[in-house]
Structure formats: structure tokens, C-alpha cells
Amino acid sequence: MKILVVDDSKAMRMIVRRALRQAGFDGHSVEEASDGKEALAAIQRSRPDVVLTDWNMPEMTGIEMLEALREQNIDVRVGFVTSQSTPEMVQRARDAGALFLLAKPFTPDRFKAVLEPVLQ
């Protein structure tokens, strides 16, 4: 499976990669993008199976990217991994068809529980 990790923080992209390995999802191909705009181009180019994205990023936020994907009828599965989490964000993510909104920091168990149904 092809996974795209989107975060403007290099540290966070490394942490998500590590969390994927620690959760036993290490057989997948992982690519990275550092904002929503870059991610949109990567998705159009290589069509990943799953996108794990931060919400708040420069150039284009994660939710703007997801809404742009839906406008273009690109049906890639998207989940948010983000520090911020308000009921409005959860609702907007749900309306745009996001699979989940996982709040940072997360435990390895929580990360695995959220990702397992998506990656198995």
C-alpha cells in the first residue's frame, strides 16, 4: 500500500513514519509532502492509497487539500493527524469525507487502533 505523510514539520513526518513502523505497518511504501499544495500534486501524480495529513500548514491546509481532492473527484482515503482538534474541525473533516482525526500526541496503541482498519 502507498501512504503519503503530509506535515510541514519534518520532525512530525519522521514521528509518523516511526509510528507506522512501531505499529507493524512497515511493509508499506511511504512518501512525504510538506504542505497541502505539495501533497495535492503528489496525489495527482502517484495516487497513494492513504494520506495521513496535518491540518494547519502553510500554502494549503490539510482540509483545503481534502476539499480540493473531493472537488476533483479524487477518491483517496484521507485521515488527519493533528495537534488541534475542535468539534468544528471534526465536523468539517467528516463532511469532507475524512476517515478520522487523530489528535497529537498519540500513544502507539491509539495510533495502531486508528490506522489498523485503514491499512489492513
Partner: protein, 165 residues
């Protein structure tokens, strides 16, 4: 609304959120060593602004250059790589991410308290932030495993118009 929330109460929430980051993202133990008014010493670390309906806050996680490097190495999983050392931008990014998660924890706790807290973006600073007359400040000594740091918090009430002046 959280105008009746004292700075000490905000600090308690911030310490709880910091403990959560310490035990999950940093995977270690966490304790608070002391509470005291901040001193204007030069420090290195990351700050993040928070804003509620009637208050503006700034939270900083600070220490020495070595403190920040150790926290970055832990967050990036480099404890077992004695040869590798994170670059300065990677240290700034990693400590910024720690305060970002910490602020997210404050937001989740406060938004469950019939209030709305918005977050800004973290910045990495080498130096001291001096509070204005309108700002209150407080500080707690914190320890992540064996890494000593300080959690600094500034608070300033907003006017009825929602701005600082």
C-alpha cells in the same frame, strides 16, 4: 469564556498537557519540580501563542541549547544514535512540534470547558521575552526523564474589542 481562569489555573492545564506529551510523544517520565516567577535570563526554546475570547497567552518550553537538543533527539528517536546529531533547524522544528502538541492538549482541555481556544504557530527563540505591564507571567520547572526544562506562561487580558490595546 475563561476570563475568570487565573494564570495559575492555565499553568495547571499546561502542565497536565506537557505531562501528556512527555509520556506519549517523548515516551518518558515527567515531573514538576518547582513553581516560581520567571526571571529574565536568556534561554533557548519554543513559544506558541494561544488566544481565547478574552485572553491572549504565550506558552514557552525553554532551557539551554543542550536541553533543546536532548528533547529533539528524544522526539526524533535518536537516543541510540550517538553519532547522529540533529541540525539546528531540526532542533527548532522538533521543539516547536513539542509545544505545538502541548498547546493542542491545552486546547482540548479548555474547549471541553465551555470555552474556545485558538492556537497560533510555534516559534523558536534564543533570548528572553520580557512581559509588558499588562502581562502576567509564571514559570514551572519541569523534568522529562533526566532533562530539565522550564515551562513559561504569559497572559494578557484582551479588551472588549478583542485586541490588546
Amino acid at each position: 469564556m475563561n476570563g475568570d481562569f487565573s494564570l495559575e489555573q492555565w499553568l495547571d492545564v499546561a502542565l497536565e498537557a506537557t505531562g501528556e506529551v512527555a509520556t506519549t510523544a517523548l515516551g518518558g517520565e515527567f515531573r514538576v519540580t518547582h513553581l516560581e516567577p520567571p526571571d529574565p535570563s536568556i534561554r533557548t526554546g519554543a513559544y506558541i501563542p494561544l488566544r481565547s475570547a478574552d485572553q491572549s497567552l504565550l506558552v514557552g518550553l525553554l532551557g539551554t541549547e543542550s536541553t533543546c537538543r536532548k528533547l529533539a533527539r528524544t522526539l526524533l528517536g535518536m537516543e541510540d544514535e550517538p553519532e547522529g546529531d540533529p541540525s539546528d533547524p531540526d532542533v527548532a522544528d522538533a521543539v516547536g512540534e513539542i509545544v505545538n502538541m502541548l498547546a493542542g492538549g491545552i486546547q482540548r482541555r479548555m474547549n471541553g470547558n465551555d470555552s474556545r481556544v485558538e492556537l497560533g504557530l510555534p516559534i523558536f527563540v534564543r533570548g528572553a521575552i520580557l512581559p509588558t505591564r499588562r502581562m502576567e507571567a509564571t514559570m514551572a520547572g519541569v523534568v522529562f526523564d533526566d532533562v530539565e526544562a522550564e515551562l513559561l506562561m504569559f497572559r494578557e487580558p484582551l479588551t472588549a474589542r478583542g485586541d490588546h490595546r
